[in-house]
């Protein structure tokens, strides 16, 4: 019998496939477009956002973000609590099954994390979980995580780790898992046609709310203009990252509409306070304050970005844990800016190099930059722009400390909704992407990392924000907004975590 099994399996698939596909119509299918294909169907083995998004359809996570409240809420885990500073206990959902029919249990959670953390497996997600030392199975539905020191981001990070099956990891192995996802999620993968599309079918045994559309097709369309054409000709239902100047085309089509949502990314102009690329005027706090006072960011958001931005007082995003709304952003005051410059020894203003990049992550970047540069010049901060058109070399320059006294930057928090996720990487001494160094801030960042008490952490981050505001570490801009294009045949809300979920899309009545 064993000899025939592969043949039987192939035959069964061949017989079933046409049936599945033939039954699929436009009416019971929601179509979603992404710009590039996935490298594999093994989300921990990819750093692409698309892998996270599609991962949400076929797999589940221990926790996921409630799009209404913005809080992390239960998914495969039903509850979690810290037992002490370095131990988290997680209770798991019962009665959940993987797509291959095997029941979900604590052993799958352990196997998932063991696999990711094992250096030999070369999984890129390992970097996300280095603080986890071990995972212990207590019973079928309870696990304990041991961490290396207090780890307040533990719960946040659970939202980005798909749970895979122990049986699959053990029996099928790494190679097989690259193309064959076995999850517990709302959709199952039917077929992956590389560089073209993924066809997903509803998991009718799903433990949670079942998707309204029986099929989800994810099409790979690299060019934004083509995505928009597909959207307004009815070929696609949801597209993301619509350029602001194209919103009108969609809204006036009568076929589709746009929706925007704040996203977890803050834009700024970094100033080289730490003098990483040599001596420069911005090592003087008064010059940095002058730069902040020179610019009218509210006007830029309103007139240049058509309101597609949320002003922030510092680098900390309003959606991040620890955000302090009581700090009011700098208001434009050219006279004071000039006075501060004069006090710092520059009565005739300064000339500085300014490194700029293409508008890949920040919509309308060229236009907003021009507006900001004009404001700065009014106060006597004259900039000489140097442009790098590719994001890879740009990041390398920044990382190697060669970005100069002033450069464009934005930070996506690697999707962790916590102040620590920007303060540590972008503002701490000697970090690769940080051109700021302040011992006092470093102590606060460290303090925020060494307690699990949310109240204490809130206070710590409030102090940190006050400090970087008063010290005018960088020129603070705004929190970005994403724009989605949505077909009028469906109901869907733009997700604030930038993880599109086709399983919550509903047909419009």
């Amino acid at each position: 019998m064993h000899r025939f099994l592969p043949a039987v399996a192939v035959l069964a698939v061949l017989l079933l496939l046409p049936v599945v596909v033939a039954a699929q119509t436009r009416e019971d299918t929601v179509v979603y477009a992404i710009q590039g294909d996935l490298p594999n169907w093994d989300p921990p083995n990819s750093v692409l956002r698309e892998s996270i998004i599609l991962g949400y359809h076929v797999f589940d996570h221990l926790a996921s973000r409630d799009l209404k409240t913005g809080k992390v809420s239960p998914s495969l885990a039903t509850s979690w609590r810290p037992l002490d500073d370095t131990t988290w206990e997680v209770k798991l959902r019962q009665g959940v099954r993987f797509h291959d029919g095997s029941p979900f249990s604590a052993r799958d959670v352990k196997a998932t994390f063991d696999r990711v953390l094992d250096e030999k497996n070369k999984l890129t997600a390992r970097g996300n979980h280095l603080k986890i030392k071990s995972v212990e199975v207590l019973d079928d539905h309870t696990v304990r995580f041991k961490t290396d020191g207090p780890y307040p981001l533990f719960v946040e990070r659970l939202t980005a780790q798909v749970i895979q099956s122990e049986k699959v990891i053990r029996d099928k192995g790494h190679e097989w898992m690259q193309r064959n996802p076995v999850g517990t999620g709302p959709y199952k993968l039917v077929r992956w046609t590389e560089k073209q599309e993924h066809l997903l079918v509803r998991n009718d045994d799903y433990w949670g709310p079942k998707p309204a559309f029986k099929y989800a097709r994810v099409r790979i369309i690299p060019e934004t203009a083509t995505q928009i054409a597909e959207l307004i000709s009815g070929g696609v239902d949801v597209i993301k990252a619509v350029p602001p100047d194209q919103m009108d085309v969609i809204d006036k089509s009568g076929i589709a509409r746009t929706a925007s949502s704040p996203i977890l990314r803050t834009a700024m102009l970094q100033l080289d306070q730490a003098a990483r690329s040599g001596p420069n005027p911005f090592t003087d706090r008064r010059v940095r304050q002058a730069a902040n006072l020179a610019t009218d960011m509210d006007a830029v958001i309103k007139h240049v970005l058509n309101g597609l931005g949320d002003r922030t007082a510092t680098t900390v995003n309003p959606m991040a844990f620890g955000f302090d709304a009581s700090i009011k952003p700098y208001k434009q005051d050219i006279d004071r800016a000039k006075k501060l410059l004069a006090e710092a020894g520059y009565p005739n203003g300064i000339d500085v190099n300014f490194l700029t990049m293409p508008p890949i992550v920040e919509p309308g970047l060229r236009q907003t930059t021009e507006a900001i540069v004009a404001d700065l010049a009014k106060a006597g901060i004259r900039t000489k722009q140097r442009y790098i058109g590719e994001i890879g070399p740009y990041v390398t320059q920044v990382k190697e400390g060669k970005a100069g006294p002033m450069f464009e930057w934005s930070w996506g928090y690697y999707s962790v909704f916590d102040a620590d996720a920007i303060l540590y990487d972008v503002m701490k001494c000697n970090e690769a992407y940080s051109y700021y160094c302040n011992k006092e801030l470093d102590d606060l960042i460290q303090a925020g990392r060494s307690t699990l008490d949310p109240k204490k952490r809130t206070e710590i981050y409030a102090k940190a924000q006050r400090l970087i505001f008063d010290d005018a570490a960088y020129i603070y801009k705004w929190g970005l907004r994403g724009v989605w294009g949505i077909s009028n045949r469906v109901d869907y809300e733009a997700p604030r975590d930038e993880i599109d979920r086709m399983f919550v899309v509903k047909p419009r009545k």
Binding site: P39, R126, G127, Q178, I220, P222, A229, I232, G235, G392
Partner: protein, 306 residues
């Protein structure tokens, strides 16, 4: 003839070697691939570990030697993203690109041959001026723009064709026309000047003197001789055509090797880029070799000369 082919093959080796060094050098100048490969928060040890894993910590010449010595055996290494052999990945994506290029070529010839001949025969007439205008317009139109315009007209407004994708004959029409329109103008101008030149030759007068009907003169005597420069230039243009395919594939979400290459350059997936560049260069060189042979076939003088 054999010596000629042998010389061409020797050149091929030199060209491929040069291209591989160029591709290798440029890739290493763009930046650190590990930066894109790992999450931003991975930490320095993790970055170092990956660099060692991919052999990026070794001196450049050692890295190139390792790449070249394996590549000769058809082993271009594994894609750093997809974790499968780069050679297979590129080969899988080859057919759609070849279909598209051939379809573009056919469209270009369908436009260029009749119009070119017509323009030559009715020189300085109204028809000739129209053809010249079309050629100039075609040459001035960026592929990218034409592709999007076609999508807006035929997919968004008229709803006749799918805006993008791959699979049915309807999917072929717009990309093939876009690519064809890119190649047609230069081909048409060549056909026109080729035919004009040939029509003044003695043997055409002879053919006419023999009492052959004009269509037969054009088809049998003029056209075949006018073909020689056209075929040569088409061969040289083949590289351009592949370049045009990159843009066309991107606009129409065509799952070919060009989109794969662009995506891999973005991701700095060195093995895939190197494999694709070397294979594409190989194709261009081989096509040019074939063109030389075809020209020899059309024009016996070249065969004799060699």
């Amino acid at each position: 003839m054999r010596r000629y082919i042998f010389r061409q093959l020797a050149q091929l080796v030199v060209v491929i070697f040069g291209i591989s060094i160029l591709a290798f050098g440029i890739l290493h100048v763009i930046g650190d691939p590990v930066l894109l490969l790992l999450p931003q928060n991975a930490g320095p040890e993790e970055f170092e570990r990956y660099r060692r894993l991919l052999g990026l910590d070794q001196p450049l010449w050692a890295q190139y030697w390792r790449f070249a010595s394996h590549a000769i055996q058809g082993d271009f290494g594994k894609s750093w993203y997809a974790d499968v052999p780069a050679f297979g990945l590129v080969l899988d994506r080859m057919p759609p690109t070849i279909y598209l290029t051939l379809a573009g070529l056919v469209v270009a010839l369908l436009i260029a041959l009749p119009l070119g001949i017509l323009a030559a025969l009715k020189r300085h007439s109204f028809m000739d001026n129209v053809c010249t205008m079309l050629a100039v317009a075609g040459q001035a139109m960026p592929i990218f723009w034409l592709g999007i315009m076609l999508i807006i007209v035929f997919a968004v407004r008229l709803r006749l064709l799918p805006a993008s994708g791959y699979g049915t004959w309807q999917h072929f029409l717009m990309p093939a026309f876009t690519l064809g329109a890119f190649l047609a103008p230069i081909t048409m101008r060549l056909v026109r000047s080729g035919v004009i030149e040939v029509m003044n030759m003695e043997y055409i007068k002879t053919a006419r003197a023999k009492g052959l009907a004009e269509p037969r003169v054009v088809a049998k005597h003029a056209f075949r001789n006018a073909c020689i420069p056209v075929v040569t230039v088409l061969g040289l243009q083949f590289g351009q055509l592949l370049g045009g395919a990159i843009v066309t594939e991107t606009v129409f979400a065509w799952p070919g090797v060009a989109t794969l290459t662009v995506e891999s350059i973005r991701n700095q997936d060195f093995p895939v880029v190197q494999c694709a560049v070397v294979l594409l260069a190989l194709i261009i060189v081989i096509v040019n070799l074939l063109v030389d042979l075809v020209v020899g076939f059309i024009d016996p003088r070249i065969r004799v000369g060699a």
